[in-house]
């Protein structure tokens, strides 16, 4: 008998070898991430990897004898990953979300109700009594809590104090004052103000104009309509008529105005606490001023911020809840604010010395009670995704392409009436 394999044997060997990786990739598909023993998977925003949270994670790992797999994403990528996970049944143990997803996924059955944990531990951790009411409402569905707010933020006016001083203008408090200041500040390659291409940045203007985005009872969209048109047109006019702001560029990046402000190419921007750290890091010499929300019909701004929720198919919700409790403790909020200037949802956070003694954080904190949730009613219809897609198109048509606001808003309302029916 020959010791050499025959041609047929070789072919069998090659065929079998080739089949192994293909078949093993199917058979060896990992068990659900949440079920992987010893690993606790968390989907987190890439910008929120704070040292204060790392400390909590280390304590959590030690207490529960697990390793936390903190997977960091930008929001759109996190959503893509999460929806693929929901489809495959392979879900993480905990998810941070940018606002709005908790109710969306509660409606679709992908988020787990946390009400049983709240009933058990709520009083001890101060939930919901110590949380700003808007943060509990936006994370509840049909009377049950599905998520817990991690940060509560809002937009207001950031300005370069030296530029305003040199131009002889005070920090504006109304739209008219803003336009006047922007005109005086626009010179020598510097814009008075820079607006954001991202549609979420239009909400402070709309809530200041007294607009209700959507009324679930009457089905009215963007009313009073004339005021909504005026608010949108005012923003477009800053760019195209008064030329006190650059034309923004459409992209997935919403840091354009912050970069212009940091480069001292814009004297004012409308933004939230997430831009404080990059400004301070890249342009420490800028004398940063923060003004309360502008006033039109009312002085108001948009409530924003992130929450956490547990996917319905997560295998260890007890651990997930323990993580939530630890990371929302007041001392953790205190440390995170001290580290980054981020705003927090606890009522008792407002009274902390880190908040009251910091002139920037204090202005943001004082603006929080005027912050309104712009998509609450739409989220409950389950059509938030379509709503946001149409808003993005409409806002950029007005802001970038200079389409008359009345025309663009009419087209938006017509489209929204179709899918909100």
């Amino acid at each position: 008998m020959s010791s050499h394999p025959s041609r047929r044997d070789l072919l069998r060997l090659v065929g079998a070898a080739a089949a192994v990786p293909v078949l093993s990739s199917c058979a060896g598909a990992p068990a659900t991430q949440s079920a992987a023993p010893g690993t606790f998977t968390v989907y987190w925003n890439a910008g929120h990897d704070y040292a204060a949270y790392r400390k909590v994670i280390a304590e959590f790992e030690q207490a529960n004898k697990v390793t936390v797999n903190l997977q960091k994403y930008q929001w759109p990528d996190l959503r893509t990953r999460l929806l693929a996970d929901f489809a495959s049944g392979t879900v993480p143990d905990l998810v941070e979300e940018p606002g709005g997803w908790v109710q969306e996924f509660a409606v679709s059955g992908n988020a787990r109700s946390l009400q049983d944990y709240v009933d058990r531990d709520g009083q001890a951790m101060g939930f919901p009594s110590d949380w700003q009411p808007v943060t509990v409402e936006r994370n509840s569905y049909q009377g049950k809590v599905y998520g817990v707010q991690l940060h509560l933020t809002c937009n207001t006016l950031l300005y370069n104090k030296a530029m305003l001083r040199d131009a002889g203008v005070e920090a504006p408090t109304t739209w008219e004052e803003l336009l006047d200041a922007a005109k005086k500040l626009t010179k020598d390659g510097v814009y008075g103000i820079a607006l954001n291409q991202d549609y979420t940045y239009m909400w402070p203007w709309l809530v200041q104009a007294g607009i209700t985005p959507y009324d679930l009872d009457t089905k009215a969209i963007m009313e009073p309509r004339a005021d909504a048109v005026a608010a949108l047109q005012f923003q477009a006019d800053l760019i195209h008529q008064h030329k006190v702001a650059p034309v923004p560029v459409s992209s997935t990046d919403y840091s354009g105005p912050q970069k212009l402000f940091s480069a001292k190419r814009a004297a004012m921007i409308l933004t939230g606490p997430w831009d404080l750290e990059p400004i301070r890091k890249t342009s420490a010499d800028i004398e940063l001023g923060v003004a309360p929300p502008l006033k039109n019909k009312t002085a108001a701004t948009q409530a924003a911020g992130v929450s956490m929720f547990v996917p319905a198919k997560a295998a260890r919700p007890d651990l997930s809840w323990d993580f939530i409790k630890r990371i929302t403790a007041l001392e953790v909020e205190q440390a995170a604010t001290k580290e980054t200037g981020m705003l927090m949802p606890r009522k008792s956070w407002v009274d902390l010395p880190e908040v009251q003694s910091d002139p920037v954080t204090k202005v943001f904190a004082e603006a929080l009670p005027t912050a309104k949730d712009s998509s609450q009613q739409v989220r409950l219809t389950g059509q938030l995704g379509k709503w946001e897609e149409q808003l993005k198109v409409m806002y950029q048509q007005v802001l970038i392409q200079n389409q008359p606001a009345a025309e663009a808003l009419d087209a938006f309302v017509k489209a929204a009436e179709g899918f909100l029916r």
């Binding site: 065929g15 759109p76 929806l83 459409s250 897609e389 950029q396």
Partner: protein, 290 residues
Amino acid sequence: MRSRTLYGRYARTAYLFLLPAILFFAAFFYLPIGNVVATSFRTGPMADQWAGLGNYTQALADPAVRHSFLVTVGFSAMVVAGSIVIGLALALAIDQPLRGRVVFRVLLLVPYLTSVAIVGLLWRNILDPELGVLNRALGAIGLPEQQWLNTAPLLTIAAVTLWQSVGYTMVLFLAGLQGIPETYHEAARIDGADAWHRFWRITLPLLAPTTLFVSVMAVISGLQAFGQAYIITNGGPGDATDLSVFHIFNVAFRTRDFGYSSAQSVLLLMVIVAFTVVQLRAGRRGEVTY
């Protein structure tokens, strides 16, 4: 009888060699395609309710789908025309006995080897009207600043696509040019044909198979383009660069309608197949033999 056995053995051997590829394509292409087709008949956030042909009729009547398709056709037309004209021009230029032409070839091919995400971010930063390098350079030499991402966004992303892909089409045309026997040109020269006539009467007709291949590949990649809209413009401004695959992606992952997005994917697949068949038939009809 013996030849049939031999044939059977050869066939078995051939299939055994093909088996890994068949398994790979089945697992990672055909099964997912089958899954997409099945999903296209369902609806709901979890695509778990039967919809019949509802998603297809909705897609055919949806103005947003129609708009994104027209945007994609416009984008593809620019990419196809650019790929052929610029790719051929570069190939003709580089086919000359120039010094350093190997370096030139490599430089033209490097963008093709770079990921679309990197190319997108690179050009997004170069073209930014306020903070980009290009406007600084234009300003430094006294030229007016550009706002192309706002004023001509579709043309801009088509140009970026061409910048990335034209090196590849150049290589294809170069291979085609080098496959044309020199004797044809010599004979034409003896007959008194000038360079222009030789190009129109000999080079271009004999490059027809290459041109057909380039145009088919450019149409397919143009209709399937995604990264350019996702990375550079996010589909904007407004919906000016809402390419079909980007639109389908948003329907799936932003508005969370997997059934509807699957139906649009199937329709797009049908369009791509139809375009390809028409191109191949038209191209073969025009083939020239000497």
